[in-house]
């Protein structure tokens, strides 16, 4: 029973963090058809921002704010300098953002070196929950990730800006003829997506080794999340929960490699089922 509670909290933590990383990626893909292979580097930059603020003995919350701001700034710059030249071309966006990811990693290596660094845990210790002891910082991470995710999804569902995002994602030409400035919206969404990735990087920084290639680890799960969720934003949370559940359980009972392969198999099964459903609809 204790193991079940610990595992469930672990799954919840992984899923919340994954969803935070994936939701921005999913919105940019739905809006611009951009396959952003540099998304992991935005996470890494957020972790380094948290590390630098911690090195300067600034409060932990300042690290979160700095990471979000760095993500926002780098995302804006990337959209203006690169992404808007690659709209609606997944092939070009793969090449362009892959190149960008290499450049960003090299720049960080030049600035901070290759070796890994650690960020102090801002909330060490454990708390008792449902009769088991669970790391306090992981609970805080879950609360922040779930809160931010709820805000993002609510903004997309309930605000005029969210309505415009959904309209451009559905039909950019029609949205434009209704006065929606899609290019400006694309900039806001891409920068927001990078800001969320930066925030996620700062949140995981106290739990992992901060190093230039750390973002790659998160890209795998995030892309599986986008693939499983498709263009439905609400499905991102469900997809991330399913992926985290499968991956964590398999990792617990076997090893991390089989955990990843299981998540990949889940994505494959969902895609096949979706194809069958679409084919069935088309021929019905």
């Amino acid at each position: 029973m204790d193991n079940l509670v610990v595992q469930s909290l672990g799954v919840l933590g992984s899923a919340a963090l994954l969803a935070l990383i994936t939701v921005g990626l999913a919105v940019s893909f739905g809006l611009m058809r951009i396959v952003n292979l540099a998304h992991g580097e935005f996470i890494m930059l957020g972790a380094y921002a948290a590390m630098v603020t911690a090195d300067h003995e600034l409060p932990w919350l300042a690290g979160l704010a700095a990471a979000t701001a760095v993500g926002l700034a780098v995302g804006s710059l990337t959209e203006v300098a690169l992404i808007r030249r690659l709209y609606r071309s997944p092939e070009l966006s793969i090449l362009g953002t892959f190149g960008l990811s290499i450049v960003v990693r090299q720049l960080v290596e030049l600035a901070f070196g290759k070796q890994y660094r650690n960020v102090a845990n801002p909330m060490p210790g454990a708390v008792e929950l449902l009769g088991v002891s669970f790391p306090a910082y992981r609970l805080l991470l879950i609360a922040i990730a779930v809160g931010v995710l709820a805000l993002v999804l609510a903004a997309l569902r309930l605000t005029p800006l969210g309505l415009r995002v959904r309209a451009v994602a559905a039909d950019a030409d029609l949205a434009e003829t209704l006065g929606v400035r899609s290019q400006r919206l694309n900039l806001a969404v891409f920068a927001g997506s990078a800001a969320l990735a930066g925030l996620a990087g700062a949140l995981v920084a106290p739990l992992v080794n901060v190093q230039p290639d750390m973002g790659v680890d998160y890209l795998f799960g995030a892309f599986l999340g986008v693939i499983v969720a498709g263009s439905r934003l609400g499905a991102v949370v469900v997809a991330c929960l399913a992926i985290a559940t499968v991956q964590n359980i398999m990792t617990f009972f076997t090893d991390p490699m089989l955990g990843r392969l299981s998540a990949l198999a889940l994505a494959f099964v969902v895609l096949q089922a979706r194809r069958r459903a679409a084919f069935g609809e088309a021929t019905a």
Binding site: P160, R166, A167, E176, G179, V180, Q183
Partner: protein, 229 residues
Amino acid sequence: MSARAAGGLAVRGLRAAYAQAPVLFGVDLQVAPSEVVALLGRNGAGKTTLVNTIAGTLAAAGGTVALDGADVTHWPPSRRHRHGLRVVRQDRPVFADISVRDNLRLAGAQPAAAAALFGFLADRGQQLAGTLSGGEQKMLAIARVLMAPGAVCLFDEPTEGLQPANVDRFTAGARAAAAAGRAVLVVEQHLEAALSVADRWYLMERGEIVDGGPVTADTADHVADRLAP
């Protein structure tokens, strides 16, 4: 006459192409404020291409488009919208995965006003637009244009799939828009509906305007003869 001089919609020598294939060959067309103009022609004459080029979703290869005196030829569609252009497209006129109410909100149209034009919209606000029938989707798109402010209205095949009573509601709405000073262009294959609402007409063939004039008692027969195989 310069395109800049005219109010409403003024199209001069407009050319457009899909890939390298030319579709419009120097179209001249004008719709003055308070006027309803019908654009007629067979399938494939280039009517929808003309609408898309005026809307800005297809780039012009030459010529000019002016809205209320401003040359908008190289403006993006969103800027044309802010300058008063309202469009109902023939294909995919609404956002299927967005509710009826939000489809109206996006265009700045009041749901209550839209429901006054087409009553079924009153109690379908929460429904996804994609679950409406084809005719209902067209009515939603028409209401979105007629019930929001804007100097120039373009309707591409607005009566396609509509019941006769709803065709009458559309024509009454289009006439009311013209009476309020708006310029209205109705692209139609359905001769009777188009000529019942229009003050003037143009006939398009193979990407060019080949005929036109004021609507008179003889117009329907004249155009039908031109359209006969």
